[in-house]
Symmetry: C2
Subunit: 325 residues, 2 copies
């Protein structure tokens, strides 16, 4: 009735951008990510027959409101799957994902929650099933079930039964590094949920985004298999810019970029002009993640730290999938 | 054999972005602009039977190289039109278009050159013909033949005979103001000519850009007729962002924006949140032009001048079309 699991967050190199089903969290396009070792959530779930409702503690603090509701609704899925709809749980999570790093702690959070809760109920899920369940907590979380490079196959079924992540290359396949560049934080005006929705519904560029994903995916998977860093970086950087371009064409238009976002992007391109292969990617927020190779860690880190407006640079590398204690 | 003409530059509210014919300068999409009074070129053309080639003076300096070749090739068009292919000219131009303002002086330049040269040869061209000829010097220059709000109809003929500008609303229709926000200048990495070409050839978003222009044009012309400033501004600001979005999806991707470009865009949106209607538009470069109403001139100017990285703010209003001395 009790289990502890740890899951890492991930950074998408081919972005998940747009839902075809809001309640089942089914994406319009497949995506591909790298699981990151520096950012994780560890969660212990204990189902207790004497509880009349769930309890959720995050970093030792009792959580109420929307964040609690999301966790409790997700536990409903697991309870229903295990056919114990009236069994409630106490959940204790610790987050090693600095919120200010602009990483969605929801990715590691829901992956760890799904793993711990299903293990606590002794469900013995295979990883595909775990990924499919995790997806319904937070879309990109379904990729965090695996380590290394991971693809989330969008699937075609209305019930989401074929929409889950699959491993592309294991954690030790290739030592690619990621620097998370943290900017002075300003509240996002458009949440990623709202941003996706507005883009899907109003951007005239959105259908071309979806149409181009299969090519991007095929090419980046080849680059990953070949360990071709520059090819992989080029595809990831271009894919991220296409995603952000769709928002500029939405109605009303919007962007997640700030002035310093542009500065970091151009600094990374400047590194390449100096012969240092580095590539950026940006999620639905102003922070930038920079891909680089181990031998360039010092110069990349140094260069990024010197940019005015950058408050922190956090280094990471390929991380593992869900583990249990 | 001698004539002097003056033409103003213009700012596109619906952007010209992409050529369907590089040598005739035929656009993929129609566009719409406002002619601006603050920026102009004055040109005197004197055809002289004793010259064995053209001579071009810009601000009293003899110009050679590419810039001269462009002027001389354009004079070939006028000479051929007048059936005097061996008659060369001396051209004296003065530019009141600060290059650093990021305005294409080619727009006012070729409009003034076409007007002065055709008048010097006593061609008595109607304005459509003058606009059509001007287009072959520099695309957006064809709009500078007229004052006020002007549409460049892309046309459908292969020979370009139906691709020229037409007036939408005269100079005195509506007192709309434009602040040209000049940023510390950095050399453009991608010229607008190269940028258009790469976007047309490689951006998966380009066809949706073209498809959406007729709607943008219909709506902005209604807003101009109704003198609905907020509607006009919204359409122009969205159209500019769509144009820049197409470049982010090109292969390789690129952007004309700098960090301060983003700051100015967000400052303008911040003005609106304070109840001051102001809207931005950006051409193929980092500088920003801000549309505002006369009653807000002080606050808009002040706000823009205070942005770090802004080196100058030049105010303009609706200007007139080609005039002769």
């Amino acid at each position: 009735m009790k289990a502890t699991a740890k899951a890492h967050t991930n950074i998408a190199l081919i972005k998940y951008w747009g839902k075809r089903d809001e309640s089942l969290i089914l994406p319009m396009n497949s995506s591909l990510s790298l699981t990151l070792n520096a950012f994780y959530t560890e969660t212990t779930v204990t189902f207790k027959p004497d509880l009349s409702e769930d309890k959720f503690f995050l970093d030792n603090e009792l959580i109420v409101g929307d964040q609690f509701t999301k966790v409790s609704k997700f536990l409903d899925l697991i309870r229903n799957y295990a056919d114990v709809p009236d069994l409630f749980a106490e959940v204790h999570s610790t987050n090693a994902v600095p919120t200010a790093a602009g990483f969605a702690s929801s990715a590691s959070g829901f992956a760890a929650l799904a793993a711990a809760a299903s293990r606590a109920l002794d469900l013995k899920l295979d990883e595909s099933t775990l990924s499919r369940l995790t997806r319904q907590g937070s879309g990109s979380a379904c990729r965090s079930v695996y380590g290394g490079f991971v693809e989330w196959e969008k699937g075609t079924q209305d019930d989401g039964s074929d929409s889950y992540a699959v491993p592309v290359a294991p954690q030790d396949h290739w030592d690619v590094r990621v620097a998370a560049v943290v900017l002075s934080s300003v509240m996002k005006k458009v949440s990623s949920r709202e941003g996706m929705k507005r883009t899907v519904e109003t951007s005239p560029f959105y259908s071309a985004w979806v149409d181009n994903i299969p090519t991007d995916l095929t090419q980046i998977k080849e680059a990953i298999q070949d360990r071709d860093f520059e090819r992989m970086g080029e595809i990831a950087e271009a894919n991220c810019q296409k995603m952000h371009a769709t928002t500029l064409a939405a109605n009303p238009p919007f962007t997640y970029w700030h002035d310093t976002t542009l500065t970091v992007m151009q600094t990374v391109q400047g590194l390449r002009e100096k012969g240092i292969p580095a590539y950026f990617t940006i999620d639905a927020g102003p922070n930038v993640k920079v891909l680089y190779q181990p031998e360039n860690e010092e110069v990349v880190q140094q260069t990024l730290r010197e940019i005015p407006g950058v408050t922190n640079v956090i280094l990471s590398r390929s991380g593992q999938g869900v583990t249990y204690k």
